[in-house]
């Protein structure tokens, strides 16, 4: 296989990174707007920002108390 060119990186990785970023942003918005969360909000913000993919999922599944 050849070297990865910059262009390939851009077309392959960038959209995926963008989607991950989008997921994290939406999780942060949901966290900010939630009436109450399980555990402190700042903790969820850290989890969402620093645990790749699983962080936002964990927040969406378990982070909010009754919408």
């Amino acid at each position: 296989m050849d070297q990865i060119t910059n262009e390939m990186l851009w077309t392959i990785i960038a959209p995926l990174a963008g989607l991950q970023f989008l997921l994290a942003i939406i999780a942060l918005v949901a966290c900010a707007r939630a009436e109450s969360t399980r555990g402190p909000k700042w903790m969820w913000v850290l989890i969402i920002l620093f645990v790749n993919l699983l962080g936002p999922i964990a927040f969406f599944v378990a982070g909010r108390r009754n919408e």
């Binding site: 296989m1 990865i4 392959i12 990785i13 995926l16 989607l19 991950q20 989008l22 997921l23 939406i26 999780a27 949901a30 993919l53 936002p56 999922i57 969406f60 599944v61 378990a62 909010r64 009754n66 919408e67």
Partner: protein
């Protein structure tokens, strides 16, 4: 029929307001893209690790595109199933525990309609998320690995969708039977695991088991096969799904609310 659409729309709206319509498809898409992308970059990743002796040649056979898609389905077998169970574990118990089920069921709404509206909403989200994720996987596989036949893709998509429908229905039923959402998720996941293990342990006795669906989906991806055995498995899965819906309705009928 009218009340069904009213409640179905309410379910869709709820899933929009609690972001399910965004995050579940996004996660399925990311999972779907991951397999072809990591397969493609694997040699570079290994080379970059740098602890290879000088001059060592890394021979990794480049897999077929269809193999990569079959592996994508394996990703969904774990994380995908987990996400579906976790997102729908409170679908009925949540409304029963909070008392909103009672508020709705004192209006002229049949218990079957109530359950079916929730079930249909679950199916809609699952179908959209999985199709989107699987399609993205196909797209990346096509540009990075190699062309994949459309026939195998569609067949495997359909078979795997039935598997997810089965898992989702199992979750709905568990949440109608159990009070705790965690318990429902655990039961649904446990039953899925037991079914998968039993199906692989007793291939003869479990020849038509819905646990076969995952294997059949991967197989039809690679071979484009949809034979009589596949039909039987699909048929039996639908029968079990229908039974589980009936059980859910009965469970709700016998206990529409907690405080009585």
């Amino acid at each position: 029929m009218n009340t069904f659409f009213v409640l179905y729309r309410k379910e869709l709206l709820e899933m929009l307001r609690n972001y399910k319509w965004i995050w579940v498809p996004l996660v399925f898409i990311l999972l779907g893209a991951m397999q072809p992308v990591t397969t493609y970059f694997l040699p570079q990743i290994l080379a970059g690790a740098g602890n290879m002796p000088e001059g060592a040649v890394i021979e990794i056979p480049t897999p077929q595109g269809s193999e990569v898609l079959a592996q994508t389905l394996q990703q969904y077998n774990t994380l995908g199933v987990l996400i579906i169970t976790l997102s729908f574990m409170a679908v009925i118990s949540g409304e029963r525990n909070s008392g909103t089920a009672a508020m709705i069921l004192v209006k002229p709404v049949s218990y079957t309609t109530f359950v079916l509206s929730k079930w249909s909403a679950m199916l809609s989200l699952t179908a959209v998320a999985f199709t989107a994720g699987y399609a993205v996987s196909l797209y990346y596989t096509n540009i990075l690995i190699g062309d994949v036949g459309a026939g195998g893709f569609w067949k495997s998509l359909l078979i795997y969708m039935i598997w997810l429908l089965f898992v989702g229905t199992l979750t709905v039923t568990s949440s109608a039977l159990l009070r705790s959402p965690g318990g429902a998720a655990f039961t649904a996941l446990g039953a899925t695991a037991v079914l998968a293990i039993a199906t692989s342990l007793f291939p003869k006795a479990m020849a038509w088991s819905p646990g076969k669906l995952t294997g059949l989906a991967a197989q039809s991806m690679q071979t484009g096969l949809w034979d009589e055995k596949t039909w039987m498995v699909v048929l039996l899965s639908f029968v079990i799904v229908a039974l589980m819906i009936m059980i859910s309705v009965l469970a709700l009928r016998s206990k529409p609310s907690l405080d009585n």
